[in-house]
Every structure is written in C-alpha cells, then in structure tokens.
C-alpha cells in the first residue's frame, strides 16, 4: 500500500480496500473514499488543467462546488467527462483520466497558452477575431471551438438508462447537515411526510468533517444515530446521493438521484444510472450549508492550495492529509480549526497566516500578515508571507489551507428571482425575504454558522413550516452543541504581487481581468460575468462570484450589496443529459399508436410512415416492385379500376350527443348542420375564431341527438380540445356531451367502382346498401359477418364510389382479412397513405397541406359554404376584406408542362416574371404523379387562380435552382361532376 498521505481515524472502511486507476496508474483507496480523497491519500495533488491557460491544478474543495478536479471517469461508451473527483464515490475498478491535457497531465502542450496570457485577457475574442470578417466562421470559430472545452464525449450512444419519478411530501428538507437532520427529526417525529435529500453519499454534512460534540457524542455519531431514527419512521424518506437541482413554481422541485453510478460496472446491469425526481412539496426547508471562499493572491492556484474546511474534511472524514507540511491563510477564526485538527492528527502545521488585527490564540504559530506568492508549478513547494511588520518570510509547505469566509448556499432561494441580503457580521449574502413560496431556510444556508445555531434554526423552521400546514409541533429539546460566534474581517485579495491572482479557477479569471472589465466599462455584474466568463464554469460561480464582486465593488467605490449579484438559476449542479431525457430516447422518444390493421400490414410487408403518433401503412410493395412509385401507382389505379381498402382509423372521431347536439355543430362548423337528416353525413368546414380554416371532416347523424364527427388525423386532438372549449366556455348553456371514440372503432375506406359489391358480401343481408336504399352521404348502424355491429358511411375521399366501414376495434384486424378474402374476385388492393394522397389530389380534396393555418374559406373556394343564415365560429372574421377579396389566393390545380415532378412548396410567378417577393403569386401545396392522368400534377394557391384556368405559370424551386412551367387547371382532375360518387 502506497497511500503516503493516509492518516489515522476517518469514516472510511479500512476493511474494504478498493483498486482504481488514475492516468493509467493502479492505486488503492478504501470504501468511503471519493476519487479526490483517494488521490490525495496517494500523494496525487495534480488533478487537472484549467480551461484557458491549461494551468496545473489540484483539488480545492471536498464537495460539489469543485472547479478543478474534473475527470473522465469510465471507459468506452461509459466514459463520462467533467466528473468532479470530489463527489465521485470510489468503486472497485474505477478508471479515471485527466482531461484537457495532452500528451499528459504533467506535461501539457497547450500549457503554452499560459505564456501568452498577456494576449489572452478577458475579452480577447471580441478584440482579436474581428477581421477579416469572413475568417470568423471558417477559421477562427472552428479553431477556438477545438481548443475550448474541458472533457470530451465518447461520441458513442450513452449505454446507461435513466429513470424519472414523482414524489410528494409535506416538508422537503434539502441538505442533511445539523440543521437538516434536526428539521427532519422535528417534522418526522410529528408525523409529517418528510423527504430529506442530500447530495452526499453519507448524510450528515459538516458533522462528518468537523471535530465537534453534539449532546456528548461526536458530530458524526450524532448524525448516524439521527439517521437511524429517521430511517425507522415510515413517514420519512431518506434520499442520499440526491441533489436538489431547482426550485420551480407551486412547490415543485427537481432532484437527481445517483442510483448506480457509484457501483462497479458489473453491478450496474439493468439498473438506472440516475433517477430524475419531480418532488411536489407543500413546504420546503433549505439546509444546504455554506461554501468556503478562497483569498486571491499571486499564484494562488498551485496544486496543494485548497479551502481550509476542505483540508480538515479530508483529514477528519477521509483520514487524508493534504500534505506533509501545512500552512493556513485565513481572515476568520473558523479556519483555525484546520490547524487544530491537523495538528491533533500529527500533521505538521507550520503557521497560520492571518491578515487581521488582534489574531486569536492558537497552539500553532500565528503570523499576522498575508501570503504574497507561492512556488511549485505542479504542486505547492513554498509560500512567501509579507508580515504585518513589513518583513518577508518564506515557508516551505506542500499544502496551504485558505479561508476567506463562508458563503451561504442560497442558490435555490433565488431560482424564482429572489434577491439575497448582505450581512456585514458574516461578510456574506444570505437569503432575502423574497423566497420561493413555501420555502424557509435554516442553518449555515441562512448564515447560522455555529452547530447550535444550525440545530436551533433547523428545528424552529421545521415547526414553522408544519404550523403553516396546520400541523402544530412541540419542538424537542435541542442537544448541546458549540455556539462559537463568527469572527471575520472581510479580506478578498492580496494587493501585493505581480503574478496573476485567480478568482475563477476553472475559467481562469483573475483579479486583473475584473479590473480590466471595469476599465472597459463592463461594471454591471451581468456584464462582468459575460465579459470575463467569471462564474460561467461548471461550478456556476459558487467559488468565484463573491471575489469578483468584491473586486468590482472596490473599483466602482460601491459596497458589495450595491454592486449586487447575478441570478442563480437551475440546475444547482451539472446534470446528465440522459437524466433529463429519462426513458424517452430512441424509438421510445414518444408513444407510438398502432392501427387495427397494423399487424396484418406488417405481415404484408407494408412500408410504414409516422403520422403524428400513428404508424400508418404508406404503401404495400408487391414482388417485383423496386420503387415506391410502382407500388403507389398500382394501388391508386386499382382503386379507380376496381376496389381498394385503406385503414382510416386514425381519423379523429368525436361522439357528440345531447338535446342541443345539432345546434352545437351548427356553431362549430361554418356550414349548416341543424337540418341534417338522421341517416345522413355531411362535409363540414371548421374555422378558427380568426376565420382561418382549422380543420375539415364529416359529421354523421346517427340519431336526432347523436352525431359522430370525424376530423383529420393530425388535428384529432386540437379539434376535440376546441370543441370542448366551445362546450365548456362559450356555450355551457347547450345540452351537449362530447367524448373521443377514435380508438373504439376500426374504420376502413373501401373505395372504387366495385366497393359496393365487395361490401354486399359481408354486410348482413337485412341491410340494403343499394344505391337507392343507401345513397351518397348515407350513414347507418348495421351488422356484418353475422351480427357484428358496424357503422357504414357512404363518403369518398378518392372521388370514387366509396364507403367507410367501422367495427369495434377488436374485430378490425379480422375485418381487413375478410375484406381481402371477399374482395379477391375483384382484385381488391390494400392501399396506403401515399395512394390515398394521390387519389385525393386527383379529386382536388384539401388536406393538411392546404389547411395550413394561413388559408380561409375563400382561398379554398368554399366561401359560399360559410352560411350567412346562422352564426358560427369564424364566420364573421373569414369575411373580412383581406381574406375574402376577389383577387386573393384560390385553390386550383396544376399540370406539369414537362416530364418533371412539380415540387410541393414551389412558389408561383407569372410566366417569365422576375422571381422576387413582390411578384410572388402563391405556392404549390401538394404534388404527385397521377397514374390515372399519366402526368405530374399539383394543387396550389394562386392569386386569382380560378380566373386563370389555362394560363401557364412558373413554379420556382430556388432550393434546387429550378423553375418549371405549369398549366393552371381545375383542382378536380377527375370526375368534376361527381358522377362516380353517386353511381
């Protein structure tokens, strides 16, 4: 074992050694280690390279705020970049690699950037890459993008899976330190539904990192006992490894739980890597603790320089000394604990350097002064100290603990624009009064830094939260704990020294950069952030923001609260994209709806197309057909010649019932419905309130008080929603009830001159469907195949004699099989959506391409359909001058003058006109090859189109640089009189 910096004690399990590798070197740690603690135990101080200058960096923290120790963890597709070593729980076989360094972490060629730092100051992009302008996109940006970034993706699909979930509670306690534990105990004992979430894998917060007593026990033992009690309460849910990411409206929080990331790969199989929880909390209590801040001085970024609190956490919790000889540099009393604890563990603490007047007593040498410089490129070797008396002393140390004070972790309090308040006594921002609804704050997050204060405020705030829910609580007696006051004198950076003084370690922002921003007029904190990138690293400014603000405040002569803060936004820490996606990836991105004939169509070898959520058969290739057009042409011709069958179940079906059902339809449809006889179907055009066409379909009257409305497939949901809006909000006085029955009935179009003959073979003989008994636009409830109830509609989308027949969906697959058997003598042909499209274009029927949200009834040539004898939604607005003008767009047909397809989307110009927007006269909406006519045809909107039949126009396709000639014709390419429909 080579863990040279491993010391005694700690909360690690020495009986469970763990093997891992870093930079290809095999190392050992123990269960309970983080990657960072294990690396430090092995004497590895150099853990990463900075973003811009590729400066050698070591770990500065022991928590989620870590900006430096970012690693690639895992191999192959499992490799995850930018993983913070401080929160990566060590597991057997972990493979960690540094990132942003080449060829090695110790020798990084891009470290050359550091030599040119004078040229690479804040804003250098904006000043340097301005000319020549054309170089930006082709040269500068690609180079900068290649150079930028930290970790790199594996470029393989993420092999992990992620879950999502939903939780509810009376009180969500965020953070399980002393305040959070006391709050959870208080609320849990009172019987409230409590969730206690903590991002660490061991709950207890600083209790596991400090040498303190609570009620006669060590802090960590008290935490353990409290957690055991909480675990025994059925109303309390303990969620370790769970980071609350954001506070959203109505007491909703997002949290990500690391489920299996900490396990060896062999133990992860089948488990979600992470679960993203949505937590509905009646009340929330933020007990997120505080983050220690650094003090900027020349070369304060050497590996070995870290937060004082982190250094004693490594010693107390993980039994790791950050170095062999240590010094402390701090402006507050709290950091003296680091000297005390390390000394107690036998680590040599050379001195505490304190810039304040009246430094406290300490068993360690205290030097009044400031650290003005450090040495040791790949790891700290010494620090130079300017003493208060003016003298200079060099201390040979390999670790320096720094504390500039503590910042309450108030991110979640400002996710809904809450602004923090400044407190002089602790020299920090604390949560302001404008918290998210239902949230309270306790412990260090509220600026209550002593253990007693944390326990007290945790209990107090839990009581208040429950009382607000009408659940009075008697607060328990608090255990005894230290209650040391905060002693701090603000000190942000050391003035002396010419080398760079780092504020944002990851993004390489220095005190000088902030001063430059001020000099160039970027004084607002928001400008400061964007000009320098201060706070834009993965730690989102948790470490750097306060230092930057303090420097800016000094430059502007304002106070820190006057200077203000930027706004914290979710997420609190970085989140895997996979966790946001959950299971909605690949083909599971959205649900797929299957038609009743789906499995049958699969067996026929159908090619499918997505239509909204539906999968529909697009065409049915036959042996020998090598191109889709062969299949589609055959199917379309078969319908015109004999009979075809198409699954049209996907069309929306809305059951409309009630005494006022007809009156209701008269309102939602532009054309008249009140007098539609029972047993008849009518085409209906639905307009939006603004007069634009919304959808078209049919309504069949099955009884005086019962209609079935059909909609287009794409608009089934929106039309149903619109109808419900009309029913509930516009005309609640009407006695009408609506419900969707789209899925209840399997519906097939049976189209073609032999369609009646085919249907007569399956319709039970007591139902006469002859032309006389069941004419065009008839509808009836019938039975088929010996008593199976069915609905029959004589409607046509193809222009042929046609029906739509519906049976209960469970019989749908069987029905198409029967239709194929019974239709064999007519060469019945199943057809898909492509042939359906060809047939309706040939007939001139509008569909989604024509009802595109821009067109009104007049454009469709249906102005007269909009009844003037009644009120209907959109009727008045569709007659406004711009929509109804005589020289407006009209739907007409087009024939290609050549052998080429007329591309839908082509814009129309008068023959030979200059192709510019001023001359634009419309566009082609739908196009196809018509096997019936033997030519390429299209539908489209053309200005004054109905007056221009026979004219030749240009169809411009600038995407392909082509212009084709097209002749304007009637939109009804076949049977314009509609004789076939009525045959």
């Amino acid at each position: 074992m080579t863990q040279s910096n491993r010391i005694s004690g700690g909360l690690i399990d020495r009986d469970l050694p763990i093997s891992f590798s870093f930079e290809g070197e095999s190392l050992q740690g123990f269960a309970g280690d983080t990657l960072a603690s294990a690396l430090l135990a092995n004497g590895k101080r150099l853990m990463g390279r900075s973003f811009k200058y590729h400066r050698p960096r070591g770990v500065i923290s022991s928590g989620s705020e870590e900006p430096n120790a970012l690693m690639h963890i895992g191999e192959g597709a499992y490799r995850t970049p930018n993983t913070r070593a401080t929160v990566a729980e060590l597991y057997d076989g972990m493979v960690a690699q540094s990132q942003n360094a080449w060829p090695s972490l110790a020798f990084d060629a891009m470290g050359i950037n550091d030599l040119f730092s004078n040229f690479l100051t804040a804003g250098f992009y904006y000043k340097t890459f301005m000319w020549p302008r054309a170089f930006w996109e082709k040269l500068y940006e690609p180079i900068i993008r290649k150079a930028a970034g930290l970790g790199s993706l594996s470029m393989q699909d993420d092999p992990d899976v992620y879950d999502k979930g939903f939780l509810h509670c009376d009180l969500l306690v965020i953070g399980a330190g002393p305040a959070g534990l006391m709050a959870a105990l208080t609320a849990g004992r009172a019987g409230a539904q409590v969730i206690l979430a903590d991002e660490d894998f061991v709950m207890g917060g600083r209790l596991n990192s400090e040498v303190i007593e609570i009620g006669g026990q060590s802090g960590s033992d008290w935490a353990k006992a409290s957690l055991a009690e909480l675990a025994s309460l059925p109303n309390v849910r303990l969620m370790a490894r769970t980071t609350v990411l954001g506070a959203f409206d109505h007491g909703i929080f997002s949290a990500v739980e690391r489920v299996s990331d900490h396990l060896p790969l062999s133990q992860r199989a089948g488990r979600a890597r992470e679960t993203l929880w949505r937590i509905y909390a009646k009340r929330s209590l933020l007990c997120a603790g505080a983050t220690e801040r650094m003090i900027a001085f020349s070369n304060n970024d050497r590996p070995g320089i870290m937060q004082a609190g982190a250094m004693r956490a490594y010693a107390n919790r993980w039994a790791v000394s950050a170095g062999q000889k240590v010094a402390v540099f701090a402006n507050n009393d709290d950091a003296y604990r680091t000297a005390r604890d390390l000394t107690a563990k036998g680590v040599e603490v050379v001195a505490v350097i304190d810039p304040r007047e009246g430094v406290p007593d300490s068993p360690v040498q205290v030097i009044r002064g400031q650290v003005i410089h450090s040495k040791g490129r790949l790891g700290l070797k010494s620090v130079r100290v300017r003493k208060a008396d003016g003298g200079v002393e060099t201390l040979a140390v390999d670790a320096l603990a720094v504390s500039g004070g503590w910042n309450p972790n108030l991110s979640l309090t400002s996710h809904q624009r809450g602004r923090p308040d400044w407190r002089d006594d602790i020299a920090a921002f604390v949560p302001g009064a404008n918290l998210p609804v239902g949230m309270a704050v306790a412990g260090a997050a509220a600026g209550d830094f002593s253990t007693h204060a944390a326990l007290h405020s945790g209990a107090e705030m839990a009581c208040q939260s429950l009382e607000a829910l009408g659940q009075p609580v008697t607060p328990a007696n608090l255990p005894e704990a230290e209650d040391a006051p905060t002693q701090i004198t603000p000190f942000w950076y050391v003035g002396e020294g010419k080398a760079r003084k780092w504020l944002d370690f990851q993004n390489d922002v220095t005190v000088k950069d902030v001063k430059l921003a001020h000099q160039e007029g970027f004084e607002s904190v928001e400008h400061l952030k964007r000009y320098t990138t201060l706070g834009m690293a993965t730690d989102q400014g948790k470490n750097a923001n306060m230092g930057g603000l303090a420097v800016m405040a000094e430059m502007t002569g304002q106070s820190i609260p006057q200077t203000g803060t930027t706004i914290f936004r979710p997420p609190y820490t970085p989140v895997s994209m996979g966790a946001l996606a959950g299971r909605s990836t690949g083909k599971d991105f959205k649900p797929t709806r299957l038609t009743p004939s789906h499995h049958w169509a699969q067996r026929q070898g159908a090619v499918f197309v997505e239509v909204g959520q539906w999968l529909r058969a697009q065409w049915f290739p036959q042996p020998g057909e090598t191109h889709w057009r062969q299949s589609v042409d055959r199917e379309a011709l078969a319908v015109r010649k004999s009979v075809g069958v198409c699954d049209v179940t996907t069309l929306g079906k809305v059951d409309v019932q009630g005494k006022d059902a007809a009156q209701f339809l008269n309102l939602v449809y532009a054309n008249a419905f009140a007098k539609l006889p029972v047993g008849k179907t009518r085409y209906g055009l639905m307009l939006r309130e603004d007069g634009i066409a919304m959808d078209d379909g049919t309504a069949a009257r099955l009884a005086e008080d019962h209609f079935v409305v059909t909609t287009t497939t794409a608009n089934a949901g929106p039309v149903y929603r619109h109808m419900e809006f009309v029913r509930q909000c516009l005309r609640p006085d009407l006695d009408v009830q609506l419900i969707s029955t789209t899925d209840a009935w399997a519906q097939y179009a049976v189209a073609g001159p032999n369609s009646r003959k085919l249907l007569q073979k399956i319709v039970d003989p007591e139902f006469d469907i002859s032309n006389e008994a069941f004419p065009f636009m008839g509808c009836a409830e019938i039975t088929v195949c010996g008593g199976i109830r069915a609905r029959l509609f004589r409607i046509s989308f193809s222009g042929e004699l046609a029906y739509e027949i519906a049976v209960p969906t469970r019989y749908g697959e069987s029905l198409i099989e029967v239709l194929m058997q019974a239709g064999a003598e007519f060469d019945v042909t199943p057809y898909g959506t492509e042939a359906l499209g060809v047939l309706r274009i040939e007939k001139g029927h509008a569909a989604g391409n024509e009802l595109n949200g821009q067109t009104a009834a007049a454009h469709l040539g249906m102005a007269r359909l909009v009844s003037t004898k009644k009120d209907s939604i959109g009727a008045v607005m569709t007659r406004r001058s711009e929509l109804a003008k005589d020289d407006g767009l009209r739907l007409v047909g087009f024939e290609s003058m050549g052998a080429e397809i007329l591309p839908a989307g082509s814009h129309l110009f008068a023959d030979g006109a200059t192709q510019e927007p001023a001359n634009d006269q419309g566009w082609l909406t739908s196009a196809c090859y018509s096997p019936h006519l033997g030519k390429h045809i299209a539908l489209g909107y053309l200005a004054r189109g109905s007056d221009r039949i026979g004219e030749v126009v240009d169809a411009a396709n600038p995407v392909e640089g082509k212009t084709l000639k097209a002749r304007v014709v009637s939109a009804h390419f076949i049977d314009p009189e509609g004789a076939r429909l009525r045959d």
Partner: protein, 187 residues
C-alpha cells in the same frame, strides 16, 4: 347470411390476453371488460347512484354495484366497466336504463384495461406517474399520464393492486413503458 366471420383480437394483435411478470409485479391485459362512458345531460343531477344501484360515486373515486365498476372521469361523467361476455352491449343497456338523462357512448374497444399487481408497487408507480400514492387509497381513481400516454389509474388495494386504462392504440407503448420500469425496479 354472409359466409364470413370476424374474430376478436387483443390490443396486441393476439388471441390471448397479454400477461407479463417481472420481478414481483405482474402486468396483465384484461380484454374481458365491456366499457361505456356516461355523461349527465343538463339538469339531471348525479346519476352515479343509478349506475351503481347504491351509493353515489364521489369525485376521483370508484364504486362497485350491480355487477359494474363505476368511476368518476370528470364533472358529471363516469366510466362503467362490466363483464364483456355478459354485457358486450353495456352502452345500449345503460342507454335503455338512463334514456334522455344521459349520453352514453360505447368504449369497449376505445380503452384497454390492464391490471398491475405485486407485493410493493409503490416504487413502480412513483416512477410512472405523478399520483400522490400516500393519499391514493382503495376506491380512488385518477386521470394521469404514464410514459406520455393519457390514462386512468384505479387503486384496488394500495401498494398491491391497481387497474389502468389507456387508449387502445397506445397499448403497446403503454405496456412497454410500464414493463420497462417494472424491470428497472426489479433489479
């Protein structure tokens, strides 16, 4: 009489109901229910006692009665489940009973019924839908969304038995989403 016969198939295109056990949980398709939706017509008052033959069905609850399960599906609206073999024409039966008091719509094949049963279903359901399970006791029903699919969830026995209904065309995706989480939780 035609010489052709239609055969029913399940929502999964099979002759027999889907059933799948993963871990300690079982998801089974229940094609043996007839379903109808009932909406009260204007001014008729609460029809649910008529439907159950006894107690009224409260908001977000279900009740059994007259061999039917009646659950609240919206203001003045209910879904009724009954045995398909005995009451395939459930909608027609209800219309006869209720006459002009209600609009009744056949939903036999509009919805697919699933039963989810197991020793501890909470970890599964909390990963599927936002229902507050601590407050979701027996006789409760909630309309919700599972894996992007709108559905009803009925609690038969808290933590151990639930009945779920989704639109028939969604059945494949719906069951796949549930079974995926059953597998995730079973590990």
């Amino acid at each position: 009489m035609t010489k052709y016969t239609l055969f029913p198939r399940t929502a999964f295109g099979r002759d027999a109901a889907m059933i799948d056990q993963i871990g300690s949980a079982t998801l089974s398709e229940r094609p043996d229910f007839a379903i109808a939706s009932v909406a009260e017509r204007a001014g008729q008052g609460d029809l649910s006692p008529v439907l159950t033959g006894a107690a009224a069905v409260a908001v977000s609850e279900w009740q059994d009665g007259l061999g039917r399960t009646v659950f609240w599906s919206g203001p003045n609206q209910w879904f009724v489940l009954a045995d398909h073999d005995r009451s395939e024409m459930l909608a027609a039966e209800l219309k006869t009973e209720l006459g002009d008091q209600a609009s009744v719509t056949e939903q036999n094949d509009g919805w697919v019924v699933f039963d989810l049963q197991g020793a501890d279903l909470t970890p599964i359901l909390e990963r599927l839908c936002p229902i507050n399970l601590a407050e979701f006791g027996a006789n409760r029903v909630q309309r919700t969304v599972i894996d992007h699919v709108g559905c009803f969830v009925l609690c038969l026995e808290p933590g151990r038995s639930y009945r779920l209904l989704c639109g028939r065309s969604f059945a494949g995706s719906f069951a796949h989403g549930i079974k995926t989480i059953m597998g995730s939780v079973a590990v």
